[in-house]
């Protein structure tokens, strides 16, 4: 059973959701809270897997609620469902929301969004990993990438192509940009899977806003060096893989997708290096041990 809590200051919305999602009652356990405070109280009493919150509410608004949830219950998946279309307000929720949905939102969209989000946790099947991923607001980028990005944004002559090329080299940036552009706020009907299109949709000014005010791109600064891990190497590897994947894909329609897949395929390493460097440091030794084990089995 997936446990989902819906938060909205409009009771009719909650009742409507309750009725609409009735067919899910055998797979979802649903709770409904009329305010942020009420939701936090419920979550204190019972654990939840997913929170779906309105953005604009009296008292604690959606962004504040999700931030609080992110800190207290990092493994809970956080979704914004808002009828308020003002972009600036939405930007506040960018670092803490996994998904953005816009009212009016039909059953299928809501259902698939929740299912897709929960499917990751069922794949991971590890509470620790779920927490690590859930609490991670931004993936880290290379200092050089961040600097170049700021420069490009500050330069009035730079165009979206120049920015796209910078994003393309950085898996963390690519991931964030794709997440944003595919969120409902930007109203892009189709799935966007190549960076160039994503940047064009977002526009330079929004990107600037995101970079400067909510700091969607963060510099990788480990407290001490992690043996066996280099972000530079990871970048080079990711870019190389992206190029090769694009080459292999050949067909234009899936070429972009393949390149993004290549770029992001090792993004898990980034998460682990950032969140649990001490575990990560042990990985190469483990890898050797496992290799030796398989070798001995073969023999």
């Amino acid at each position: 059973m997936t446990r989902i809590i819906f938060v909205d200051d409009e009771v009719r919305i909650l009742e409507g959701l309750q009725r609409m999602l009735r067919p899910q009652r055998h797979t979802w356990e649903m709770a409904f809270a009329p305010s942020g405070q009420a939701a936090l109280q419920r979550m204190e009493a019972t654990p939840f897997d997913v929170i779906v919150s309105d953005m604009r509410m009296p008292g604690m608004d959606g962004a504040a609620l999700l931030k609080s949830v992110c800190e207290k219950y990092p493994s809970v998946l956080r979704i914004i469902l808002s009828g308020y279309t003002e972009l600036e307000a939405a930007l506040n929720a960018v670092p803490v929301a996994h998904q953005f949905l816009v009212k009016p939102c039909d059953q299928d969209t809501l259902q698939s969004a929740i299912e897709r989000a929960t499917s990751l946790n069922s794949i991971l099947n590890n509470k620790r990993l779920e927490s690590i991923i859930g609490s991670m607001q931004q993936l880290p980028s290379l200092p050089k990438s961040c600097m170049e990005m700021r420069e490009a944004l500050a330069d009035p002559t730079s165009d979206s192509h120049r920015i796209a090329r910078l994003v393309e080299r950085d898996p963390a940036m690519s991931a964030k940009v794709l997440q944003l552009v595919n969120s409902a706020f930007f109203g892009v009907a189709r799935n966007v899977s190549d960076i160039n299109t994503a940047i064009t949709y977002l526009g330079k000014s929004i990107l600037e806003n995101l970079v400067l005010s909510v700091e969607i791109f963060r510099v990788f600064r480990p407290t001490k060096p992690i043996p066996g891990f280099s972000l530079e190497e990871l970048h080079v590897h990711a870019q190389l893989t992206a190029k090769m994947a694009g080459h292999v894909a050949g067909d234009k329609t899936i070429r972009g997708l393949a390149m993004v897949a290549g770029l992001l395929h090792d993004v898990g390493k980034l998460v682990l290096a950032e969140a649990t460097p001490e575990h990560f440091a042990r990985a190469p030794a483990q890898k050797k041990k496992i290799a030796r084990y398989f070798k001995s089995k073969k023999n």
Partner: protein, 714 residues
């Protein structure tokens, strides 16, 4: 007087006459006369060219005289001395003719004895001297009257004096009070190489007060005579003067009692003794020149002030023109001329109303009798306006703000000054700004309104989906019922069927559906109503004032619509209470008033929102309306902190805002004020108490009082 003998030139043809006259003149006291005699005019002219004479005695009977013409030629050649005609026979008409022609006297030889000759000649010389001084005085006066400036006057005076007085060199010295020094200004001399060195020295000389001849005159303010400069202890230019052959000198102050401007010096090759007459004469000329200088200095100052005034007027960006009591333009500055597209010459003297104010911007004529600017010439009351239109040369109009001020001479209006500013650019900016402000208000609402609409749409959709699912479930049950019904028609019902029906009922939770479906339908209908209300309110709020006239409107309805539209701004921070009394229709521009109400509501919400950030408590906005005499009153009260004393006077000023950057343009209340006061003839006031809140009060006349001022159309 000089004691040297007076040189007499005697022109007589008959030797007997010559001897006779010589004898009589020789009998004068102290050998007064030195007589030179010639027998013809030709010989006389030769002598005149060589030396000066003090008096001429001529018998017009000399062969080359040709009667009166001879006299005229002689006077032309030696005007400096008197001419006396001697004749044998007295002829009354001839006597008159010669005196008219310039002769000083007319005497009959036979009647003259020695005493008579002495008297006639002496008197003639004296009379002539006086007349010459009078002539000189006249010439000097004419020079001074005709001179445009001081250098011209100095040149003219020196020329006149040099022609008349027997001095060889004259100089004018100018006092520079700031330097406390005296400098050479002008000089004239008898052309001669001898004078060059002295002149050159004078050019570069300067004297302190009391120093040298000019300095002594400056100090004493009295004329000075020097018999012989080479023997004078205070004369400073002795070597140069010696080289120039200068002996006698005379200097007079140029100026009056209040002060002297300069000194005029005269030099002569002869020793000069004090000549009382000449002294007095030159002193009087000095006074005259002093007067002239004083006048010229004053004139120059006046002209300078005038030039500066014109320069100031031309340098200002305001257009300025003056009119006389008849309304004709007397002056126009550069900026005004440029705005109108005329040259100054084209407009001066023309009627200003006929030139600049003849038609209104709509093309209808503007009679001068209706123009307050022209009328002030009669009323004497100044007039100013923030907006009027002046006509340009090319027929187009220019929006201006101007003030017209009458000028008075005593109690009479002597004209008016109109000073205006071209505000067309400013107005264009105002229009754009207000448009932007309106868009900003609407744009700020759009996101909120979207939220307000999306919310009911969301639950209508959710409930519809629920009904869809429920109907499918219900259909399953009804199908089972149909089956049972068919069986009932044919015989007993199989118990399994009833068990199935029960199972379906349980599965679909029919009891739940029975209670939920009516609720869902109610909520859907409510949602639809909510959307409809918002859409209608938006339509009413965005009312476009199509006609230029005010139209009657129900303000209560307008307030309700505006409250709905601004609900997304208010509902999170405050409850809204309304107490709307019965109102008569108000003649107004409803679209504009909606803006006013919106501004007041949103401002109240923002103010309370700031408080709520601190206290976390919702506030209250109270909107009340009531009729008050022939007007209506709308009050909007909030429970925020009130307006601090320091900013109370500024809140209706454009661009004044206390809100954080990006939240307000500072135009809202200024615009609201303009709409209420200027467009509707109402009032917009507020009462505020620190810590308790603010109440804004809009008072509007129901009859639609005329706008006090044209306001930029929205």
């Amino acid at each position: 007087m000089d004691s040297r003998p007076l040189n007499v030139l005697l022109v007589v043809a008959v030797a007997q006459d010559e001897a006779d006259i010589r004898q009589k003149l020789g009998g004068a006291r102290n050998a007064l006369f030195a007589v030179h005699a010639v027998a013809s005019l030709a010989q006389a002219f030769k002598l005149i060219a060589d030396k000066p004479f003090d008096v001429f005695l001529i018998d017009l009977a000399v062969p080359d005289s040709d009667g009166i013409h001879g006299l005229q030629r002689l006077i032309a050649a030696a005007h400096y001395a008197p001419v006396i005609i001697i004749t044998s026979i007295y002829d009354e008409s001839q006597a008159l003719d010669v005196v008219r022609a310039g002769a000083d006297d007319y005497v009959v030889k036979s009647r003259m004895n020695a005493a008579a000759f002495e008297r006639v000649l002496s008197y003639a010389i004296e009379r002539h001297g006086v007349r010459r001084q009078t002539d000189l005085q006249l010439a000097v006066s004419r020079v001074l009257a005709e001179s445009q400036n001081l250098p011209d006057a100095c040149d003219g005076i020196l020329r006149v004096l040099c022609e008349s007085l027997k001095f060889d060199l004259r100089e004018i010295w100018r006092i520079d009070n700031s330097a406390n020094l005296m400098f050479h200004a002008r000089s004239w001399c008898v052309p001669s190489r001898r004078h060059l060195q002295f002149q050159a020295l004078s050019h570069i000389s300067q004297f302190r007060c009391g120093e040298g001849l000019p300095g002594r005159v400056w100090q004493t303010r009295l004329p000075q005579w020097i018999d012989d400069v080479t023997e004078c202890d205070y004369f400073t230019r002795i070597p140069a003067a010696t080289a120039a052959g200068i002996r006698g000198a005379f200097a007079v102050p140029l100026g009056l009692f209040q002060g002297i401007f300069g000194v005029m010096t005269f030099f002569s090759h002869e020793r000069k003794r004090i000549d009382e007459q000449l002294n007095n004469f030159l002193v009087s000329i000095g006074n005259q020149m002093g007067q002239f200088m004083a006048r010229k200095v004053a004139e120059e100052e006046r002209e300078q002030i005038g030039r500066e005034l014109v320069l100031i007027l031309d340098s200002t960006s305001e257009g300025i023109h003056g009119v006389n009591p008849a309304g004709s333009i007397t002056f126009i500055n550069q900026s005004a001329a440029r705005t109108f597209g005329f040259s100054r010459e084209e407009v001066v003297g023309k009627n200003s109303h006929a030139l600049f104010h003849h038609t209104r911007p709509d093309g209808t004529p503007y009679p001068e009798s209706e123009c307050p600017r022209s009328n002030l010439l009669h009323t004497g009351k100044s007039h100013s306006t923030d907006l009027d239109y002046f006509c340009k040369m090319n027929g187009s109009h220019v929006a201006v703000s101007y003030s017209a001020t009458p000028m008075f001479e005593g109690t009479q209006v002597s004209g008016a000054v109109v000073s205006f500013t071209d505000i067309s650019e400013k107005r264009q900016m105002e229009i754009e700004l207000r448009h932007a402000q309106k868009l900003e208000a609407v744009g700020g609402l759009a996101a909120g309104i979207a939220h307000e609409i999306n919310t009911p749409i969301q639950f209508i959709g959710d409930n519809t989906r629920f009904l869809q699912d429920s109907f499918r479930d219900g259909l399953e049950m009804i199908t089972k019922y149909h089956e049972i019904r068919q069986q009932v028609q044919n015989g007993p019902v199989h118990p399994d069927l009833l068990r199935d029906l029960d199972a379906i009922c349980r599965k679909i939770e029919w009891d739940f559906l029975v209670t939920e479906i009516p609720k869902a339908l109610d909520q859907m209908l409510d949602g639809v109503k909510r959307v409809a209300t918002i859409v209608l309110a938006m339509k009413e709020f965005s009312h476009v004032d199509r006609s230029a006239e005010k139209t009657p409107a129900d303000l209560n309805k307008a307030i309700e619509s505006t409250l709905i539209v601004s609900r997304s701004e208010t509902k999170y921070v405050a409850d809204v209470e309304t107490d709307l009394g019965a109102l008569p229709p108000v003649s107004c521009y409803l679209g504009d008033l909606n803006q006013v109400f919106l501004n007041l509501f949103v401002n109240a919400a923002h103010a309370i929102g700031d408080v709520m950030k601190v206290t976390g408590k919702k506030g209250l906005i109270t909107v009340k309306t009531h009729q008050d005499g022939d007007g209506v009153v709308v009050t909007v009260r909030d429970t925020a902190t009130g307006i601090p004393e320091g900013v109370r006077g500024k809140i209706f000023e454009p661009f004044f805002t206390t809100k954080e950057v990006g939240k307000g343009s500072g135009q809202g209340l200024a615009l609201a004020h303009a709409i209420v006061v200027e467009k509707h003839g109402g009032t917009l006031t507020f009462e505020t108490a620190m810590g308790q809140g603010t109440t804004f009060c809009v008072r509007l006349p129901t009859n639609g009082a005329p706008a006090t001022k044209e306001v930029v159309a929205l």
